[in-house]
Amino acid sequence: MASTPTPSHHITQLLRAWGEGDQSALEHLTPLVYQELHSLARRRMSRENEGHTLQATALIHEVYLRLVEFQSVRWQDRAHFFAVCARLMRRILIDFARSHDSLKRGGNSRKVTLEEGLVVSADVPAQLLDLEEALTKLAQEDPRKSNVVELRFFGGLTVKETAEVLKVSSDTVMRDWSVARAWLLREMDERRGHAT
């Protein structure tokens, strides 16, 4: 395990370190993703978005673009880079949802404030956590399908990009996605059903 990174760790190095198993890198990555999330939310809110010829997922891509200095990523690392980003997003967003959810249970307010300005409606974190649990279960049944979901949902990748990362055909990704999606939704609803 690598030593504790200092605050001056470079983002790309952080990503790399984290991808190689350095858990402490996450501490430094999380606030950065939060910042981006915040500014993304701001832009959504004001409906001010440049580059409007790109589609919704482009927003996520912009986040990546601002996060990573491309000089330090080799283009051949593309697949690996996507995989790490998706995993990172999953980890950070789930942690985010978890902290909101527990705060919610601690207090009574419908909304929780994690830090100044970072607020989220109560329902989304809970749904995310349900999905996460279902996804973990899916991974035991069928790891590839769980990867497809991780890359597409958390990583924001297209079918084609997902296929590239997993080295399968686009058709396979579509089929995996379709069945995994249905399975997860059912799993989530059943869980919800048990909870209430």
Partner: protein, 874 residues
């Protein structure tokens, strides 16, 4: 679940999904073959498969951001209520105009103004927390507040709220984003270009003041109802960009780099140095978008890789081809929109075919030139970009086409005339570099290699700055202001860094290096032919600052050898510049201090290297003593250097470097003796030096230094022998000197040094021939030397050595002419010699050689027959 059953379930699910809906039940009935559990499961999956609008159907980041946006909107309602009516400085907030990733924009009025002047206030969310940033913010604000340009939204004021959020008070611009304005008005290509040219003039204006925008995009260019485009947010990205903050900045904050990827340049995406060329690129994307309705790259997907890869690697599509593209797009309200050639051309009040023909040719080339990957191959300035568009409009040839031609034929573009903006580019690069050095120094522990790379690129860029200054900018009208600005701002930055860098030795060292660098630029600028010595004074101050830093560092860390060596290096540089600009006493003082430090170091850290350097210092001191006319002391120092060098050589008999050290001390001793008119001894000393240079040249025949040593020694021998009155060998030595220098000039015509050596050999030959009473021969050599020195002066008018040698050649030409009864010619030459020497002596008033040569010229003029004196003519 059993893997077998899972596979079967999956298979059935897909197969059933392929069936028509009304066939599914019967299909499953037969396929499940009575396995009721299986059938129920497949059916439930199918039911879920057909559900839409669930959380999973949008990327997670979007989902969370959307949820947050909703809450922010609600929260913002409250906040807005709080802000409305609130006061920021003397402004009262009236309403919210919009919000962006960076912050919110409000309409406000001047509370104490009876005319209720309206303004826009941009409140930045990001807090700025270090003193350094505050100071920097104030400085930048000042510069921006001075902007007055019709197409730039004026920055009226700015500051920091109590919570530490920066705000900017700006001219209120009510208008539409330039692309919307053009599309809604169905403007054709010509009026779009027209509007865009105004934008270029705004950008040019800012660049001349060394401010880069960094985030030029349509939503930052509003067109008012009167049709005037106004560029917003100039300088704000720079103020808020962490990479410009330097010392305390946390490098991870580069994540907050302010840019809009679609309009960002390759260098921005790569995190490289940002210059005015970055804005030229973004302007190119804006114009591309205005003219074609598309972005310059045809992307395979929305992936950041593809976008970044395209921007960094792909050639942009020709605009005339791009207008044929069809694709899904989204307007500002995120409404999906199908962009077709028909749609694009209808917005431009034309047909697809006409639009394509309008763009093809000149406009294609102009846009492609603005979008070049390499900053230096784009338009040198926003003005050049606009000019080319003007040429297009007027039907004149455009420069972009020539560029394409030379590009295709594989030639490098050779710009003879570097424009003002290009000067600004270099300037900014140097500033950014100077700041980067310090910042990188902090990261250096982690990123040694990267810091070195930056340092190296800074060094290179500084060199090119110097080069460009000499060759191009000095003749460029109006560049003086830019040059002064460069230096002024560089110093501001460095002084700020200095104030922050209290005791961090690494930062201080780099700071000293930066001061020295800029000092060097100033010194070059200080050359008399570039106009005055004003900036030389500044150069000197910078060197002194660097020196002071090095001195305090060395004093505070007496055990750190590298700091001591840094100090020695800086002292040597300062001594050299002092010598060059005539402060011989100060140079001598520094050299003596260096020697003291070296002697002290020798006690604890004796080494051959140190001894070699001590010998060099002794020689340096001897040289200064020589110029100051203290010959005895000078000789003493040279002898001490000789002794040390000889010991070193004896210990390393095969070392060429040590042999060279011995040569150097003999050479200088010979020089001292000659000036002291101890000619016989000078001949002996020169002979020793010559024996060594012959040895050096024999052992390494390809080393041009050694050839130059030979030239110098033969010349010296010739001159000393002539003075000593022993005429037999005079001619042969000088012939050798001339032959070797001719050979060297022949092998490298551009070698200025070789040309100077050749001139010097001719001068010496002439002088020696005069002394041995062969005036006609002497005159021929002096005339030759004279014309060579004239040529040299064109290239390097400030060389003191060439100047004094030229004067000597003129003096001996004049004397010979006087002897040959051509007093008019003689007077002309001698007066010119006098003029040269007066100039040199004015610059270095204690320089014995200069003063003696000046006296010699004056004496020779006095000795001329009276009647050749010029008569005043009325």
């Amino acid at each position: 679940m059993q893997p077998e059953r899972w596979r079967r379930l999956e298979h059935l699910y897909h197969a059933a999904m392929e069936q028509e809906e009304d066939q599914r039940a019967s299909f499953l009935e037969s396929s499940c073959a009575g396995d009721r559990g299986l059938r129920v499961e497949v059916e439930s999956l199918i039911a879920y498969g057909r559900q839409g609008g669930r959380i999973i159907d949008k990327p997670a980041l979007e989902v969370v951001a959307a949820a947050m946006a909703e809450d922010l909107r609600a929260q913002d309602g409250n906040k807005t209520d709080k802000m409305i009516g609130a006061r920021i400085a003397q402004y009262r907030i009236v309403e919210k105009l919009g919000a962006g990733g960076m912050g919110d924009v409000y309409r406000a009025v001047r509370a104490d103004d009876q005319f209720e002047k309206q303004v826009a206030i941009k409140l930045v969310r990001q807090g700025l927390d270090t003193e350094f940033v505050h100071a920097r913010f104030r400085k930048e604000r000042q510069i921006l507040a001075g902007f007055e340009h019709e197409n730039i939204a004026r920055l009226l004021d700015g500051g920091m709220t109590d919570e530490g959020h920066p705000y900017f008070v700006m001219e209120l611009v009510e208008g539409k984003a330039i692309d919307e304005y053009c599309d809604e008005g169905k403007l054709g290509t010509a009026p779009r270009i027209d509007l865009f040219q105004s934008v270029c003039s705004a950008v040019q204006y800012a660049h001349q003041r060394l401010v880069v925008h960094r985030d030029i995009k349509p939503s930052n260019i509003l067109v008012t109802a009167d049709g005037v485009p106004k560029l917003l947010d100039f300088g704000i990205a720079t103020i808020l960009s962490p990479e410009t903050y330097s010392p305390g900045a946390d490098p991870t904050v580069t994540a907050q780099r302010i840019m809009t990827p679609q309009f960002a340049s390759p260098e921005q995406l790569r995190g490289e140095v940002i210059t005015t060329a970055t804005d030229v690129y973004s302007l190119g994307v804006v114009l591309y978008k205005l003219l074609t309705g598309h972005f310059p790259y045809r992307l395979g997907s929305n992936s950041p890789y593809d976008l970044a890869h395209a921007i960094c690697e792909d050639e942009p599509e020709k605009p005339s081809t791009a207008v044929g593209r069809s694709g899904q797009s989204m307007d500002r309200n995120r409404e999906s929109l199908r962009v077709t050639p028909e749609w694009v051309s209808s917005r431009r009040n034309t047909s697809p075919d006409k639009l394509r023909r309008t763009l093809s040719g000149d406009l294609d080339q102009i846009l492609l030139k603005a979008l070049r990957k390499e900053p230096q191959r784009r338009y040198a300035s926003a003005q050049d970009f606009a000019k080319d568009l003007q040429s297009y409009t007027l039907g004149l040839p455009v420069s972009a086409r020539r560029d394409t031609f030379s590009y295709r034929s594989g030639k490098f573009i050779q710009r003879n005339n570097l424009s003002l903006a290009a000067a600004a580019v270099f300037a900014l690069v140097v500033l950014a570099g100077a700041v980067a050095i310090v910042r990188e120094a902090r990261i250096a522990r982690m990123q040694e290699a990267r810091a070195e790379r930056r340092f190296e690129s800074l060094r290179k860029l500084t060199n090119s700055l110097l080069f460009e200054f000499h060759d191009s900018i000095e003749n460029l009208p109006g560049s003086t202001v830019a040059r002064q600005l460069v230096v002024r701002r560089a110093l501001e930055y460095l002084d700020q860094i200095a104030a922050e860098a209290h005791d961090d030795p690494a930062t201080l060292r780099d700071l000293a290096a930066a001061y020295e660098r800029i000092g060097r630029i100033q010194a070059e600028e200080g050359h008399p032919h570039l106009g005055g010595t004003g900036s030389f004074q500044q150069a000197n101050q910078l060197y002194e600052k660097a020196l002071a830093i090095c001195q305090s560092l060395a004093a505070a860390n007496p055990g750190d050898l590298s700091l001591q060596f840094d100090l020695l290096g800086t002292m040597l540089n300062v001594a050299r510049i002092d010598e060059q600009f005539g402060d011989l006493d100060r140079a001598l003082d520094l050299q003596q201090q260096r020697l003291e430090i070296q002697e002290r170091l020798k006690v604890s850290h004796d080494s051959e290297e140190l001894r070699y350097n001590i010998a060099a210092s002794l020689i340096g001191i001897g040289e200064l003593k020589l110029w100051l006319g203290d010959y005895d002391s000078a000789l003493d120092y040279e002898r001490r250097a000789q002794a040390i060098s000889q010991v070193l050589l004896d210990a390393n008999p095969s070392s060429l470097r040590m042999l060279r050290g011995v040569w150097r001390s003999h050479g200088w001793a010979a020089m001292v003796l000659r000036f002291d008119k101890r000619y016989a001894e000078a001949v002996d000393e020169s002979r020793k030096a010559l024996a060594i240079s012959e040895q050096l040249a024999a052992r390494d025949p390809n080393n041009t230094d050694f050839q130059r040593f030979l030239i110098a020694d033969h010349g010296n021998m010739c001159e000393c022998l002539a003075y000593a009155g022993s005429f037999s060998e005079v001619r042969s030595h000088c012939r050798k000197a001339i032959a070797i220098s001719e050979e060297m000039v022949k092998s490298d015509k551009n070698n200025v040094q070789a040309s100077a050596d050749l001139a010097n050999s001719n001068m010496t030959m002439g002088l020696a021939l005069y002394l041995i009473h062969s005036p006609r021969e002497a005159l021929a050599f002096e005339r030759r030397a004279d014309s060579m020195y004239r040529n040299l002066a064109v290239h390097d008018p400030d060389s003191q050595a060439n100047g004094v040698d030229h004067a000597v050649s003129l003096i001996y030409a004049g004397r010979t002419e006087a002897d040959l009864h051509q007093p008019e010619l003689a007077r002309k030459d001698l007066e010119q010699a006098q003029e040269i020497m007066e100039r040199l002596a004015a610059r270095s008033p204690k320089h014995r050689l200069f003063l003696d040569t000046l006296d010699e010229a004056r004496a020779a003029i006095k000795a001329l027959p009276y009647d050749t004196a010029p008569v005043a003519v009325h």
